[in-house]
Symmetry: C2
Subunit: 311 residues, 2 copies
Amino acid sequence: MKPVLGIDFGGTSVKFGVVVGTEIVSSPAPIPTQNFEGSEPLIEEICQVIETVKAEYPELAAIGAGVPGFVNFEKGIISNLTNVNGWKNIPLKEILTQKTGLPVTVDNDANAMAYAEWKLGAGQGYENLVCLTLGTGVGGGIIANNQMLRGANFGAGELGQTSIDFRGRLGTYGNSGALEEYIGNREIIQEAIRFYKHAGESKTAAELTPADLSKLAAYDDETALQVWDWVAEKLACTLMNCCYLLNPSAFIIGGGISKAGDLIFNPLREKLEKSLTGPHLDNLQILPAKFGNEAGIIGCSAIALEEAEKS
Amino acid sequence: MKPVLGIDFGGTSVKFGVVVGTEIVSSPAPIPTQNFEGSEPLIEEICQVIETVKAEYPELAAIGAGVPGFVNFEKGIISNLTNVNGWKNIPLKEILTQKTGLPVTVDNDANAMAYAEWKLGAGQGYENLVCLTLGTGVGGGIIANNQMLRGANFGAGELGQTSIDFRGRLGTYGNSGALEEYIGNREIIQEAIRFYKHAGESKTAAELTPADLSKLAAYDDETALQVWDWVAEKLACTLMNCCYLLNPSAFIIGGGISKAGDLIFNPLREKLEKSLTGPHLDNLQILPAKFGNEAGIIGCSAIALEEAEKS
């Protein structure tokens, strides 16, 4: 199997990994995005990393980039990059193809994660699958009829933007009740502060990260358990909606919050069992993701390899 | 093009149509379902209709049934039939194939409607499409990647069961905030009664059918307009969720409520424009269905013909 370079655009840095199958055989140093004004100098720097990788892996078969934000997958154009300025309608695929001579794909990072789990991870063998990543934001990717579901303009799978309350908290795009406004990392912390305050305990944001809440709940801290139940209630609503719309066989859940494990998975299963029936509940699996932070790099590499082999 | 017999199972009657393309060339008399105890005698009666049709159309190519409720499309088994007793796990495809010797398909009626609109109606040419039917219940069918999206257990497209409020009205399956509990026919009438009461007018359910509400709104009746806006708000939430999950190019809306036309379409468009952006809003079409009550018969005939030609 030939090596592929995966490039993972994050909010603070661009990470690299030379991937063979599911193994990252080399990890060139990340580039901090804050150091760059606009896209051009950053792309220059990325191209230098690519040149170094090509020198080390002359059989490099393709380059796959995963980016947070909207992407035209077909044309490889980044519409916008979440949390990074100066990235509007950047034809990254064209630029990198011209500079490197290699086949390039550019995809949304949550799609890349979903692809990694579907083809190589916890979702192998499922023809209808929803992947979620729970972190600062809530992202997702959908497999239906054994294909990636990208939608008309490559915007499908935005689970974090779907509503759980038509009169609810306002999302980034004017979307009331956006799930992300409830169970994004920061929002969970804020909710936890409220729960503890209500319980008569004053705790700071720094004491109530999802990792802290997991530890507290592991010691049967009643308030922490309530917070996780509160999170599960919101997440269950969106997963239920996915079930009625898409009737998947499995949900694969990754990202920081998913590390809470049974604290989130158990109430989630319980709530879904109460709100689904028959074909929507039969054999439904809720599984933790196989890959962690490397899901994006592995996924976009796998997509790049598949696309390169098609053409 | 060969004739196909479409059979549309309703809550009160089973309707028939001999279909050639989009034309219903013959409509045998419907069978009222209330007259029958259990499935067997009703199926017997249906088979008699089929025999008559076969005598008149010896070139009959296939039989397609559309049913309200959950169906295993592959096996042609009806899990349950909404509003009709004695229909649990009925292998209708097998029974009708054995009795008639013709290829038979059995599908959910909302899927049949979606198929009709996609292949022959308002949705022609769209590769990513969501169809809705707004009546006593709220049904739906999804086309993604230019294929029917049926899901793992053929339960996809149940838009009426998706939630618009995680703490909302309880749906049939324990699903809080189910859209159908807000904008089903009966629920709209109840809401209208409340709106008029609040405005100081006492009106009965019989005076506030969706047709009445359309007429009132057409005369700029402020309260009726408020009711339609209230309906549009709920529907917009579910359509928005479809956009973020599926990123379709178009919604096709049929069923009784859709006859309200611009009264529902205009506020719907306005609300979607406020809660969607970029790839989710670009070129998004919201279109009335081409077919009316005959959508089910035309759709399940078209599905039956396609399946028959495959095998």
